[in-house]
């Protein structure tokens, strides 16, 4: 998708090109629709039994939104591969840290509740 890649910085000649904004509004609507869907799910899937499924959907949708914000608005999708990986690899390690410590948190809670309450 090089159609909306940043044009070369040309010499300023005084004439102003027409705006090319269709892709911006497309991304906007994608973000709005995902957010609206999140609210719909927040209020329709209220059963405690569906909590894990619901949270999984939320996290997938969040990553999807992040993809559009970083990829399109921050233009990362249109950068060279090495820059994309430079940003993504450390972030992926961060995701692992979150997963690891969430698991650790459940364990800490379990241990504390077994030790301090009978």
């Amino acid at each position: 998708m090089s159609a909306h890649a940043a044009p070369e910085h040309g010499e300023y000649t005084g004439e102003i090109a027409k705006p090319n904004t269709a892709w911006i509004w497309k991304t906007f609507w994608i973000l709005v629709i995902i957010t609206a869907a999140e609210f719909a799910i927040a209020f329709s899937m209220t059963s405690p039994g569906l909590r894990t499924l619901r949270n999984t959907i939320f996290i997938v949708m969040t990553i999807l939104k992040a993809f559009f914000i970083v990829g399109e608005f921050m233009h990362l999708k249109h950068e060279v591969k090495s820059l994309i990986w430079t940003i993504l690899v450390p972030t992926a390690l961060l995701v692992w840290l979150v997963v690891a410590l969430v698991t650790e948190g459940s364990y800490v809670g379990e241990v504390l509740s077994h030790m301090f309450s009978s």
């Binding site: 911006i24 969040t62 820059l83």
Partner: protein
């Protein structure tokens, strides 16, 4: 003028008598095809992502350490024994006192921030076209939306701190309204601490962003970027602004939805 391989626009002027050296081992390479400033903004944002990542990691650990309310949502009550359900905490809207509107205000705030991101890209796009008037217009919209966002956050904090009329009976028998760093009516004390720190840190970022945008607007109006021949500064500030929006997407999911 196509991109030349040199990274130093005016390096040849004073210090160097010779033409700048542009060989591979003289720093003439640009492997990421991004300017120095943009690249450094990316690396700064990566380090900032670590900061927010640390917050979210701490949040995840502390939340999973606490008990979960296992009943139906309609039977939910505030207690330090379990983590609160967010839609029971954040259910107020300015001007609509006493009406239960779960997550309505945070939905409004989220929309405002998405809008501000769009107007920010529009400013960057206008900068590519050297359209000074459009850059000014979209920067002003972005500043406006950003300001609405932090004003909303100020209201949300005020409401959170003052609490509801009913309050919650604490362990010592007294009724406590609202929240501070050591006590709150909504649940475990750490819930309020994390709320203050995570949304506060994010709000600080939004505030810094607004300051940068105001500066950008003044520089645009003065013709600084036009004289420079490019509006790359708007792009760099834009990267920062989208990052703040991105952080909100995660805060929104993990603090308000999950």
């Amino acid at each position: 003028m196509a991109h030349s391989t040199t990274l130093q626009p005016n390096a040849a002027s004073a210090a160097y008598v010779d033409a700048p050296r542009t060989g591979t081992w003289d720093g003439g390479n640009e492997p990421f095809k991004a300017s120095y400033g943009k690249l450094m903004m990316w690396f700064f944002l990566l380090s900032d992502a670590f900061t927010f990542g640390a917050f979210l990691t701490a949040y995840g650990l502390i939340r999973h350490k606490h008990g979960v309310f296992t009943g139906q949502a309609k039977d939910f009550f505030f207690s330090t024994a379990h983590w609160p359900i967010p839609e029971k905490v954040f259910n107020a809207f300015p001007g609509l006192h006493g009406i239960d509107l779960p997550l309505a205000f945070v939905a409004f705030m989220t929309m405002i921030l998405i809008f501000s991101s769009v107007t920010m890209v529009l400013a960057v796009e206008a900068g590519h076209r050297m359209d000074k008037a459009d850059v000014q217009k979209w920067l002003l919209w972005t500043i406006l939306f950003g300001s609405i966002f932090i004003s909303s956050q100020a209201w949300e904090w005020t409401h959170f701190i003052n609490g509801t009329e009913a309050g919650t009976r604490m362990a010592d028998g007294t009724i406590f309204h609202g929240a501070n760093l050591t006590m709150n009516q909504y649940g475990p004390p750490l819930f309020a601490d994390l709320f203050f720190f995570i949304t506060g840190f994010h709000g600080t970022h939004v505030f810094s962003g607004i300051c940068l945008l105001v500066w950008c607007f003044i520089a645009t109006t003065n013709g600084t970027f036009e004289k420079r021949g490019h509006y790359e500064m708007i792009e760099k500030i834009g990267l920062y602004w989208h990052f703040v929006d991105l952080v909100w997407v995660f805060v929104f999911t993990f603090f308000y939805l999950v």
